[in-house]
Amino acid sequence: MTGLLFACAAAVMAPLFLVLYFLLKEGASSIDWNFLTKLPKPTGESGGGMANAIVGTLTLLGMAAVMGVPVGIMGGIYLAEYGSDRGNSWIRFAADVLNGVPSIVWGMVVYLMLVVPFKTFSAYAGGVALGLMMIPLVMRTTEEVLVLVPQSYREAALALGISRWKVIVVIVLRTALKGVVTGVLIALARVAGETAPLLFTALGNNFWNRNLAEPISALPLQIFSYAISPYDDWHRQAWAGALVLMGMILGLNIIVRILSNWRNNG
C-alpha cells in the first residue's frame, strides 16, 4: 500500500522532470548570447533572438504588478481586518470565481475595454489583463496570511493607543510580510506564462517596444507564433524561449521557497 501511495506521489514529480527534460533537450542548444540579446530574424537567417520578448515579459509583469499588487493587498487587508462576515463572504466568493475565469476570457474583456476604444493593441492592455488576473490571487493569499497573525499582536498594539490603520500596516502587515511577498511572487509566476490574455491585448511585436501604447512582445506570444510556424529554426527558437520562460518561473518559485524557509526558521 505504501508503495502505491509513493508511486502516486512520485507521479507528481515525473511531469516536472519530463517538462525539464524536453525543454533542455530541444531548447538548450539554441540558447546563446545572441538569443538573449538580439531581435528576431527572418527564418533562414542565423543569429536571431528573443531579447524583445524577454524584456516584454518583464515589462508586462511589472505593469501587472503595479496594478495587481496594491489592489490585491489592500483588498486582502479589507477582508482580513474590516468588513462584515456577510459582505466578506460575497467578496471571497467573487474572488474565487475570478480565479477560475478562463484566461482567454480576460483577454477578450480587456480587448473590448482597452483595445477597441483606443483602436490599438498595446502593452497597457496586456499589463491590465495580467494585472486583473493577479488581483484575486494576491487578495486571497494576503487575506490568508493576515488572518494567521495572532489577535494578541493587534490587541497589544491597539492598547498602546496606536491608530487602527497604523496597527495594520506596521504590526500586522509587517508580521505577515514574507507571506504576502510569497503570495505576490506566486501570482507573478502564475501570470508570467499566460498566453491567451495577451493574444488580444499585447498582440506581440517583432521589434523593441518604444511606447507602451503600442503592441509589445512577450515570451509566451513569441513561443506561440514560432511554434505554429512551418520553419525548423523557428521551432528550435520556440523551445529555447520556452526554456527561458520556464527558468524565470522556476526562479520565482525558488525565491518563494527560500522565503518560506526563512519564515519557518523565525
Partner: protein, 275 residues
C-alpha cells in the same frame, strides 16, 4: 495587620496629622455601568471608585465578568463586535465614553498588559519598547533614548537587556517577555496600567519579579490587576473587588476582603470553597 497598634491621633479632625493621607484621589469613577455582548449581559450596574496610585485587584471565578470589566476600562472590549453599554465611566473626571472620544486616546491614558506575553515578533527589544511612542509621532532621538531606559528600568528589565537591545523581543524568556510588555506599555506614559492575569503563564520566580515590580509601580501609576491567584491579590494589592456573575459583590481594603469579608459569597470564594 489588625493586631498592629493603630496610631490614631486624638487631635481634632480639622488638622490632619502628617502621617495621615489626605482625601483619596479617585482614578476611575464608575456608576451603574452595565455591558452586554449581544443579548447576554456581562456586567450588571457596577458602581465602583478605583483609587489613584494604588493597586486594585479584581478577583472572582471564571466568567464572572472581571476581564470584561478590565477591558471596558480602556475600551478594548470594543474589538468584540456587538457590545452595548450603559452607565458612566470617568477617569479623573473625563468621560471615557463621551461623544467624539477616540478609543486610541483612551488607550494612550490607560495601558494594558495581557495574560500571554506578546512582544511583536518582527521588532527588537528596543523597538518593542518604543513602538508606541514612534507610532504616536515621537521622533526626538534623545527623548526616545531616555524613555527606552526609563521604561526598561521601571519594568526591572534594564540590567538584563541593556546590551542586547537589538535582539528580537521574542528571544527573551517568558518572564522577561512579560516585563518587556510592561515596559512597552509604560513607555507611552499612561496614567493607569491594566493587567489581565499577567502572571498566569509564568513560573513562581518570574511571578515574584512581576509582583515586586507592581509594588514599585504604585508610586506613580494606578494599577488594576485581574488575577485568579488569591495569594497574589492578597500580597500585591491595596484594594480588592470581588465580582460574581457580572455583579460587583464587594469592594474594599484587601486586608478586610481577605480576613473579614462583609459578604458570605466573598468569604466562600476567598476561602477557596468555590471558584
Amino acid at each position: 495587620m489588625s493586631n498592629a497598634p493603630i496610631p490614631v491621633p486624638s487631635a481634632p479632625k480639622a488638622i490632619p496629622a502628617p502621617a495621615q493621607p489626605g482625601p483619596e484621589e479617585v482614578a476611575f469613577d464608575i456608576r451603574d455601568f452595565s455591558l452586554w455582548y449581544g443579548a447576554r449581559q456581562a456586567l450588571h450596574e457596577v458602581t465602583i471608585r478605583i483609587p489613584a496610585k494604588k493597586v486594585t485587584a479584581i478577583i472572582g471565578p471564571s466568567g464572572c465578568g472581571k476581564s470584561t470589566f478590565l477591558r471596558a476600562l480602556n475600551r478594548m472590549h470594543e474589538l468584540t463586535p456587538g457590545t452595548r453599554l450603559s452607565g458612566s465611566l470617568r477617569l479623573f473626571g473625563d468621560d471615557l465614553y463621551g461623544q467624539g472620544i477616540e478609543p486610541s486616546v483612551v488607550r494612550r491614558r490607560v495601558g494594558m498588559v495581557f495574560q500571554k506575553s506578546n512582544p511583536f515578533p518582527t521588532l527588537s527589544i528596543g523597538e518593542n519598547v518604543l513602538v508606541g511612542l514612534r507610532l504616536n509621532g515621537v521622533r526626538d532621538r534623545e527623548v526616545l533614548r531616555r524613555r527606552l531606559e526609563e521604561s526598561l528600568r521601571l519594568a526591572a528589565l534594564w540590567d538584563e537587556v541593556k546590551d542586547v537591545l537589538d535582539k528580537p523581543g521574542i528571544s527573551l524568556s517568558g518572564g522577561q517577555q512579560q516585563r518587556l510588555c510592561i515596559a512597552r506599555a509604560l513607555a507611552v506614559q499612561p496614567e493607569v496600567l491594566l493587567m489581565d492575569e499577567p502572571c498566569s503563564a509564568l513560573d513562581p520566580l518570574a511571578t515574584a519579579k512581576i509582583e515586586e515590580l507592581i509594588q514599585t509601580l504604585r508610586e506613580n501609576y494606578t494599577v488594576v490587576i485581574v488575577t485568579h491567584n488569591m495569594q497574589q491579590a492578597a500580597r500585591s494589592s491595596d484594594r480588592t473587588a470581588f465580582f460574581y456573575l457580572g455583579n460587583l459583590v464587594e469592594f474594599g481594603d484587601t486586608s478586610k476582603i481577605f480576613t473579614n469579608p462583609g459578604n458570605p459569597q466573598t468569604e466562600a470564594y476567598v476561602s477557596g470553597r468555590f471558584g
